[in-house]
Amino acid sequence: MIEIRRVLTQVEDIFHEFGPPPAQPLRRGVVAAVLRNPFAGRHEPDIVPMMEALNPVGLEMARTLLAAMAVPAERIEGYGKGAIVGAAGELEHGALWHVPGGYAMRELLGWKGDAASYAKGHATGQSGNALAIVPSTKKVGPPGATLDVPLTHINASYVRSHFDAVEVRVPGAPHADEIVLILTMSTGPRIHARVGGLAASAIAKWDGQR
């Protein structure tokens, strides 16, 4: 069921955006895997088996991304995910990525929950890092389509300095019968973040939101 045709990684160092450069540049990384869409060209009622089949893909992608970013897992402060479905597929195929993509990064970054109950929608035992939901976007698009993948803080979704998005695009993909699956991570806030709101240092509830 899983056939990965192409993998693209991207690591971006942002030194400034015309303001005073912070001591540490912001690093944002992306991994995009181009897979065959086994449901292309027809309406398949039962697509859920692919969700489980994507679990190892997610983990491999998350590890590839962290390795490409060349920072320890503790340095990751933001994350996001996305999918671009080729023209012979449907948006719902992209939705298969929600659980395996999110779970993979949370697992890698320190989440200590039970994967089986997470897949069923009952998150349990969250006691480590990566408490927050992994934000996402998806769309159906042509080869070379760009997707703005959102980023938020890994422990509290409302941390305003970490609301961000990274533009992802794989030239030449997806073909009509393919899906591009995307994970993204960042090492910090927007480069000149200064619009107030909940600060990462003020996370108090540890409920994934605040």
């Binding site: 990965i4 192409r6 693209l8 990684t9 991207q10 971006e12 760009t146 533009e167 695009r169």
Partner: protein, 194 residues
């Protein structure tokens, strides 16, 4: 003055399957891009030495970023290429100053050897403009399996007074290359062509 770098972007594009057939080993292409301030933006500057020096600096930096991202030894690099997108407050000649006089030598050092011309492309553009950076074998320009191109693009660059400078290095030719011509095994590597 050294390059004023706002962003560095490094990509690795790996193709494992093409048209349903396994590509073994997978083709791997790296692309490194720097978004820099254009010191000559907004006016006519006769002498472009400052940009030439920036080109020399970036040839080494971006070349070694590519080699590092591929996880190979410099000598294992196979093809290369370069390109630049000049923001609208600059002129095309600024790209030429960066790319042509001095970028090549440090790039060749980063990939070891490099008898062949470094193929290039340049243009003026705006935010998110894409440029197709040509690729050719680093030791013999006629190697047909390595004629290729890779698309370079930074979503928020170049601003009017910026330049996007791109260097691409690969550890392979095209996936499933089969249109003949000079083969890698036939490279003499002396005149840059064969």
């Amino acid at each position: 003055m050294p390059a004023q770098i706002r962003k560095l972007v490094v990509q690795v594009d790996e193709t494992r399957i093409e048209m349903g057939k396994a590509v073994t080993p997978a083709t791997r292409r790296a692309l490194a891009m720097a978004v820099i301030a254009n010191p000559c933006a907004g006016r006519y500057v006769e002498n472009l030495d400052e940009l030439i020096a920036i080109g020399e600096e970036l040839g080494g930096l971006l070349g070694s970023k590519c080699v590092e991202a591929l996880g190979i030894q410099p000598g294992q690099a196979q093809s290369y290429g370069k390109g630049a997108i000049v923001g609208e407050a600059g002129e095309l000649e600024h790209a030429a100053a960066i790319l042509h006089p001095k970028l090549g030598a440090p790039l060749r050092k980063a990939v070891e050897k490099g008898a062949a011309l470094v193929p290039s492309a340049k243009k003026q553009g705006g935010l998110g403009s894409a440029i197709d950076v040509p690729l050719g074998h680093k030791d013999a320009a006629f190697v047909r399996s390595h004629f290729d191109a890779i698309e370079a693009r930074v979503g928020d660059a170049p601003r009017a007074n910026e330049i996007v400078v791109a260097v691409a290095v690969t550890a392979s030719g095209r996936p499933l290359a089969r249109v003949g011509g000079l083969q890698v095994s036939e490279i003499e590597g002396k005149d840059g062509l064969r």
